[in-house]
């Protein structure tokens, strides 16, 4: 579902806009960057926030 919510938010943005996504380790962290890249979005950064929470910055 994380990528579903990410995709919905990305659809609201204009080209060149950026979206920051907070997600947890495991399946979301593996799938969201890969799926975003496969669909032509640019994953600018993947960083650790705290505990098992990570942040991904995606550019449309």
């Amino acid at each position: 579902m994380t990528f579903v919510k990410t995709k919905i938010e990305l659809s609201k943005l204009q080209g060149g806009d950026r979206l920051e996504v907070l997600l947890i380790e495991g399946e979301p962290l593996q799938n969201v960057p890969r799926s975003a890249t496969e669909q032509g979005f640019k994953v600018l950064e993947v960083s650790h926030v705290k505990d098992n929470i990570h942040k991904i910055t995606i550019e449309k």
Partner: protein, 161 residues
């Protein structure tokens, strides 16, 4: 990517049970997020998920149809397929889903709509129950029968839930 190259998933939503609707809409929204063309065909009990009136109401044409309409209700009272406990379980399950930050059935339906999943209502079931397109949410693309469903779902995967 042309339409013929696009992957396609078509789901027949027959059950109308809470857990099975969660499965159907999770598949629908997840596939749509991955750029699948997604069709969901709601028939029989599945129609409850897309009714405009989300609670029990005397909907339909004729006394018997209205009684069925009341007993079947809407998305707010769809039962769990097991351990329903007189309707308590879907509410408890929704509470757990929110607590664990998992999308609820309502959120899954909204996501499917936001991702342009094609929603269809079964003409035959609607005819039996005396329902019209006005009795359903406006996002229903079309009222269709089995022939149109087979045409629209051709070339893709079909799943019966």
């Amino acid at each position: 990517m042309s339409n013929s190259d696009k992957k396609k998933l078509s789901i027949i939503s027959f059950s109308g049970d809470f857990d099975k609707l969660v499965a159907a809409f999770t598949l629908a929204s997840g596939s749509a997020a991955l750029n699948y063309e997604v069709n969901v065909f709601f028939t029989f009990w599945g129609l409850n998920a897309i009714k405009k009136k989300k609670v029990r109401s005397f909907t339909g044409k004729g006394v018997l149809a209205k009684i069925f309409g009341f007993l079947m209700g809407g998305v707010n009272n769809v039962p769990l397929s097991r351990l329903n406990f007189f309707g308590a379980s879907p509410k408890l399950m929704t509470f757990l889903m929110r607590k664990r930050n998992v999308a609820t059935l309502k959120e899954l339906i909204e996501a499917a709509i936001a991702l342009n999943v094609n929603l269809y209502a079964c003409e035959m079931s609607m005819h039996i129950l005396g329902l019209t397109k006005d009795d359903f949410i406006p996002e229903i693309k079309e009222v269709i029968g089995v022939v149109n469903f087979l045409q629209y779902s051709e070339g893709g995967e079909r799943i019966f839930i």
